[in-house]
Subunit: 372 residues, 2 copies
């Protein structure tokens, strides 16, 4: 079910078939550099989140630009990344189920691997799998710093889980996963500052409690594209995990950013064709919700004032054309900025990598559909 690539290397963008996922390489590389600049000289490591790109090609470029490794969410993503040459992966998530744990333990023979836990049962199941495989696995305790998703509560409950990890023969306690997912898309900097301030307090208190109990907390890791300068400045984090910064999307572009923070630019697009021009006020493109995820709002038409993507159905996008706007013509191709980059990437098998209007490379989305 892998689809054929919509382009060949050397082709002009104009000739690329649609819908296609386009990566502007110049913008992507500038984003890599901006992140490297932001972390230069700081005692904080970069471990970008690979759930955004699901691509070993991109992970290797992030590592070449200074990242220590990547994180991901699923064992199958980690398998695809390791198969593609990545040697240091944190599964920044809980893994439950014997089959998955056995695959995780097998993978720990091939790469430096770590995983999160938030429950005593998961600790013993993971220890059993590591023991069966004859490996020692690095473990972080995930604490709930405000997102109210996974994660044990900070303080004493986290200490109990860390102690349980410490008591296992095939696990090694490495620290805390403390990601505030709920803060990333809060629009105002002030509100994000308050949310991350709260997370930092919880991290400090939990770290102190662990250390007072004789448990060294080697690594505190977390943060995303919307908040990482705050975790970076806090002094409480050893590692940051931004993912979307390489691509950006319509939803992140709606965030307010502090003037002192690095400003990432849009590098990811959906390439689409105008397939119907029913009247003067409406055009229809061939990229609907199977081509650009709408969970965080509609895609936006790139650099085309007065032309707005207003409605997505399975295979159609309806554009409203304002009076006086330059109307898209039948057959014309347009760039869309996805509403949310991560699930949009997951709809495609290929990044069509373009530099100054010419296709330079085709990178497989090697963990596309890797849900397990």
């Amino acid at each position: 079910m892998t689809t054929s690539a919509p382009a060949v290397v050397g082709m002009p963008l104009a000739a690329v078939d649609t819908p296609a996922l386009i990566l502007d390489l110049d913008a992507f590389e500038r984003n890599l550099s901006r992140m490297a600049d932001a972390l230069r000289g700081k005692p904080v490591r970069l471990r970008p989140h690979a759930k955004s790109h699901k691509s070993a090609e991109i992970a290797l470029r992030q590592i070449a630009a200074g990242a220590v490794g990547v994180c991901c969410q699923k064992v199958s993503e980690a398998e695809a990344l390791v198969a593609g040459g990545v040697t240091d992966v944190l599964i920044a998530n809980e893994v439950v189920g014997e089959g998955k744990l056995d695959r995780l333990a097998a993978l720990a023979r091939k790469a430096k691997l770590a995983v999160c836990v938030d429950h005593a049962q998961s600790v013993s199941d993971l220890d059993a799998a590591a023991s069966r495989a004859g490996v020692k696995i690095d473990v972080l305790v995930e604490i709930n710093v405000g997102a109210d998703r996974c994660g044990v509560e900070p303080g004493a409950p986290a200490l109990a889980i860390a102690q349980a990890v410490g008591a296992c023969t095939s696990l090694r306690f490495c620290g805390l996963q403390a990601y505030h997912g709920g803060a990333q898309h809060v629009r105002s900097v002030a509100e994000r500052r308050a949310a991350i301030g709260g997370a930092v307090e919880l991290v400090r208190a939990t770290r102190a409690l662990l250390e007072s109990g004789g448990i060294a907390c080697e690594t505190v890791t977390g943060a995303g594209t919307g908040s990482f300068p705050l975790e970076l400045a806090s002094g409480a984090y050893d590692e940051v995990q931004p993912g979307s910064y390489i691509f950006m999307d319509a939803d992140y572009n709606r965030n307010e950013f502090d003037a002192a923070w690095p400003r990432f630019e849009q590098s990811l697009f959906v390439w689409t064709t105008v397939m119907s021009r029913p009247n003067a006020a409406r055009a229809v493109v061939d990229a609907g919700l199977k081509a650009s995820s709408v969970d965080s709002g509609m895609p936006q038409v790139w650099q085309r004032p007065g032309v707005e993507y207003v409605k997505a159905s399975d295979e159609h996008g309806v554009l409203a054309i304002a009076p006086g706007a330059r109307p898209p013509t039948l057959g014309e191709k347009l760039l869309l900025v996805p509403g949310h980059c991560d699930p949009t990437v997951n709809l495609y098998d290929w990044f069509v990598c373009v530099r100054r209007g010419v296709v330079e490379a085709l990178w497989p989305v090697s963990a596309r559909g890797a849900l397990r």
Copy 2:
């Protein structure tokens, strides 16, 4: 980028890895029968929409149950269906771009193929492609019957496009595509009846205009799962195109259905594992918005009163547990009803087909990701 199957034939459902797309074969087959019963003895053909399932295996079963063929939205879907043995496909959509038109014309040598047009330029481009390939292609003129998406306006504008098709040497005018997409998810039967009543008037008037101009209108085709009994009863349609009836989803299940209409049952599910139990009121499952599309609302937990799927992030679903409800346990597997079946199917490579708790077959989602 095709993922491995999450199951093997003969395995109990309980052992199937998660997330996985589950098809309850008994319910699916009953849905096939209900649709056959609804059309029996009626002078209307069934041409189910394959955009919902993207599977040649399912298309062939629909045809065995009485369908004349299927429809789909993209040339690449048609290619996958024909490669899987389907011999009669209507691309119920416009196709724009020389590369796509050449592929469409090549496919017309291998199967009975038809396609829609709604613009004079598209007519001449399609004619040129058919002529290059040395084939004659069946064409339907799509008219806008209220959805305000693609489609030429009914009446004189539609006549002009039909005349343009008639003047082409490599095209054959076959009739009208008249699908009211906007009516399918209107909740009340009365409102859907009014919307389809309006569509039927436009169809009748346009057909009469064409026939008065000497253009025979062999086929009027359209309708979906939410409305097809109305088109069926109208006498104005020769063919109906329901897609979701084989699966159903949370959004269609919210529709009011007339007591006299066939009542389809839920056959499609996402199989998911409880991966975190942070507190008494919250569970987190491993199926987020990359595992179940949320464009039409959240998935629903199947037959688990008091347990509600309230929030989806990329790889997590948060369940709220009401006081007194039986709480899901860590590692427990649950069935989810997808919010919207079509884009959810498109996230998977395999249907895990289950009968009475045992995996009976694995069907590939052969047109998964077929966007072009």
